[in-house]
């Protein structure tokens, strides 16, 4: 099974009671597997779809403070976004577990692994372990709950598994017996949970300055003492289950060696083969795997250092401005106080998922051996670089366009039809500011206008900055600052900044292409997913029957800001769509405020229908009332397409696999919801003008 599934099994075997999540590649399948377990009655747990990682960690802290065994998972940009809450968790003594399927942190984006994402979180007081194999993923989840919940520790823990190398790669994994895991890991019984029915206190958040230093000392002592617990738990796990990982560090063929290579995570397996090869040639070099990065195994490394002449550190983590890597810096400072220190060299390798091969490790090993022979360090830090082969398949065209043909999008993509018409209407003086989504991945490389990747929750902030700068330069009426956000970037994680921009009256255009789930990360539920739709985080199983909630009415939320223009649109009504985009451009060019257009983007991949049906599905959404075409200009509501009689919702639902599991009762309830929503719009239209508009 893949590493993410092994983590999910570990969570299930640990009988976790609360799970909070927000999807991000390559972590997402962990929480998808967990959703499957819960949907099929194999695990009983609260499962909370947060609308962003910041919230996900908030939910996790709340769950843990209130006294339940808690799990969450993230990585990279998501981990960075939750940073503030990550810093709060240890102070509150919440023994929750977070799995990090490591992925590089932008900087330049990639979904492939290095440890730059976990680097800013290292020194906040969490217990942090790295794993090498999928079996170790599963075993470490169980071990970490035991460590974190130990009365001597009571701190949150992170499990780091390399994205892709482990998260999506299959290996044989033995699933331990539930009864044996229950014996090893008893139910979590916190002594100090926040519960007014039991006790009248909660944890302190603020401290007077004189106590800060004292508390820092105490936390550091707890973390130091946690090392004994980590070793104890690993040994006990080894006795019971026959697998042990060294606790803090694992030595591999370190007897009678003069030199060492130090590695972390999945790269260790290739390094083992390199060590085998070098020792086979009679070279005296061993391998040390860092299992626990925090608390750092200082004493263990000092003891090792006394046995060798040179150590080479392989770092998938760069501390910019210090000249070297993170593990190297840790090791260097740990060994400084020794009277006789071995020579240290650092290899920066495997950044952004670049593969580190066995041959790379052999070369690194040879350099460490050479350093020991010479008795001095020639180059302290070396970079293991590989040549790059471009793979783009761009066919040059003579004429200049705002958007070129072809794209990386799925066959029959609805969003593709939208972006082509939007850009065609807006023309070349357009800046697309785009939160991460399918469109960014697929269309950024075929547009003839600037396409700026914005950090998810800050998209409207980026737009505000662009708009105000053009205003200063006297160009605000000539340049369109446009988002092309998905439903996640609009109705969930992006809503806060969008609301701020609307209230400030920024004259920007917000296009939401709504494919009604997080399609780019693999079809997870969003705040815009319709009632009872099946997604990978709201599967249909024995217990769950798709998404249980109705979607947010974001057009009306935007209208509540009193902005000059709000509209919905459909790819089945292109003239209407183009007219709305043009109107939005006129309004924002006149500096009247934010224009918001919400466009349904049918997605053959995520809605499970044949690609040729994209426009047909969109048309049925309008004709059944599932996607009303409305326009609110200066508060006047207008329904643009008003069929004499709405077609039954069944006609729309039956085309799509995401609704295949529906029972007749569920279909009736969807019909009720659609009717209610349609009647609400009719009433709003009758009002003439929404009363809060001037």
């Amino acid at each position: 099974m893949p590493g993410n599934k092994a983590v999910a099994y570990g969570v299930k075997l640990s009988r976790v009671e609360g799970i909070s999540l927000f999807p991000i590649t390559p972590q997402t399948t962990i929480v998808e597997y967990l959703a499957d377990f819960i949907a099929n009655g194999e695990l009983e747990a609260e499962y909370i779809h947060a609308e962003g990682e910041h919230t996900a960690m908030g939910v996790a802290i709340g769950l843990s403070l209130a006294g339940v065994r808690t799990f969450t998972a993230t990585n990279s940009q998501g981990l960075a976004y939750m940073h503030e809450c990550v810093a709060q968790a240890p102070a509150y003594r919440t023994p929750l577990l977070m799995a990090i399927a490591n992925r590089t942190l932008g900087w330049f984006w990639s979904i492939q692994p290095d440890y730059s994402d976990v680097m800013p979180e290292l020194n906040l007081g969490w217990v942090i372990q790295f794993v090498e194999s999928n079996q170790e993923c599963l075993d470490t989840v169980i071990q970490l709950y035991k460590i974190a919940e130990d009365k001597r520790v009571m701190l949150p823990a992170m499990l780091c598994l390399d994205g892709f190398y482990l998260s999506y790669s299959n290996e044989r994994v033995e699933i331990p017996d539930q009864g044996e895991v229950d014996d090893f890991l008893p139910p979590y019984e916190p002594e100090h949970s926040v519960d007014p029915t039991l006790r009248d206190f909660g944890p302190a958040a603020g401290l007077p300055p004189p106590l800060h230093t004292t508390y820092r000392r105490i936390y550091e002592e707890i973390l130091h003492d946690a090392k004994a617990v980590i070793k104890e738990v690993d040994e006990e796990f080894g006795r019971r289950f026959g697998r042990s990982y060294g606790g803090l560090i694992e030595e591999y063929r370190c007897d009678d060696v003069d030199t060492l290579l130090v590695t972390m995570g999945s790269m260790t397996t290739a390094a083992r083969r390199a060590i085998d090869r070098l020792q086979g040639e009679g070279r005296r070099i061993g391998l040390v795997k860092v299992k626990t990065l925090r608390p750092f195994p200082i004493e263990e490394f000092r003891a090792l250092a006394e046995r060798v002449d040179a150590i080479g550190v392989v770092d998938r983590m760069m501390l910019h401005g210090t000249g070297g890597g993170g593990l190297f810096a840790d090791l260097k400072s740990a060994l400084y106080s020794l009277e006789e220190r071995p020579l240290l060299v650092d290899f920066i390798a495997g950044m952004g998922g670049d593969d580190i091969s066995t041959m790379d490790f052999v070369e690194m090993g040879e350099r460490v051996l050479k350093t020991a022979e010479r008795g001095r360090v020639e180059r302290e830090v070396e970079y293991v670089e590989h040549p790059y082969q471009p793979t783009a398949r761009i066919i040059p065209l003579k004429e200049k366009r705002v958007i070129y043909p072809g794209s990386g999008g799925c066959t029959g993509c609805g969003a593709s039809i939208i972006i082509r018409h939007v850009l065609d209407v807006l023309g070349p003086n357009t800046v697309i500011v785009d939160p991460p989504n399918c469109a960014g991945v697929n269309y950024a490389s075929v547009v003839g206008v600037p396409w700026i990747l914005a950090n998810y929750a800050a998209t409207a902030g980026y737009q505000t900055g662009f708009y105000r700068a053009y205003k200063l330069k006297g160009k605000a009426d000539k340049v369109h600052v446009v988002s092309f956000a998905g439903d996640g970037g609009t109705v969930d994680i992006g809503l806060q900044a969008l609301s701020g921009a609307a209230e400030r009256g920024e004259s920007i255009i917000w296009i939401c292409y709504d494919n009604e789930a997080y399609m780019n990360t693999g079809i997870q539920r969003s705040g815009s997913t319709p009632l009872f739709a099946r997604t990978t985080t709201t599967p249909a199983g024995k217990v769950w029957r798709g998404k249980g909630e109705r979607p947010k009415n974001v057009p009306l939320i935007m209208a509540a800001h009193g902005i000059p223009y709000v509209a919905t649109a459909s790819i089945a009504f292109i003239p209407d769509l183009r007219r709305k985009v043009k109107r939005a451009a006129e309004i924002t060019s006149a500096g009247k405020g934010l224009a918001y257009i919400h466009i349904q983007a049918p997605c053959p991949t995520g809605w499970y229908y044949p690609p040729e049906k994209t426009v047909e599905v969109a048309r049925l959404a309008v004709l059944t009332g599932a996607w009303p075409l409305i326009e609110i200009e200066e508060g006047r509501v207008k329904i643009n397409v008003k069929p004499k009689k709405l077609r039954p919702i069944k006609e729309y639902l039956r085309l799509q696999g995401r609704f295949r599991h529906l029972t007749d009762e569920q279909i009736e309830e969807i019909q009720r919801w659609v009717n209610e929503s349609w009647e609400s719009w009719l009433k709003l239209e009758e009002m003439g003008k929404l009363p809060w508009y001037k």
């Binding site: 761009i394 490389s445 075929v446 690609p611």
Partner: protein, 95 residues
């Protein structure tokens, strides 16, 4: 690779047609080998309503003298053109 050499250096930082940032490209993306079915256009039947051109997600169809012209290099074979054609002038045929 040196710091002067593209794609590095200050010029290289302005990625053109990159995977997530972009702009400034001057061509289309070759996706012609994705398709299993290809649109076959019956120009006798075609009424030049241009719905196929309007809906083509890849801009592989353009307005021509006799009707829609297909650039197979950009067609993924989704079949939306054939599904939407009101006079059934487009048939999806296996390549």
């Amino acid at each position: 690779m040196s710091r002067e050499e593209p794609p590095f250096g200050i010029k290289g930082l302005v990625l053109r047609g990159g995977p997530l940032g972009g702009g400034g490209v001057s061509g289309g993306m070759y996706v012609g080998d994705w398709k299993i079915f290809s649109p076959k256009i019956d120009y006798e039947r075609c009424t030049k309503c241009w719905l196929c051109v309007t809906y083509c997600p890849e801009a592989a169809l353009s307005k021509g003298e006799r009707g829609p012209e297909l650039d197979p290099r950009f067609c993924k074979g989704c079949g939306i053109c054939g599904n939407e054609c009101p006079v059934e002038a487009i048939e999806m045929v296996r390549e």
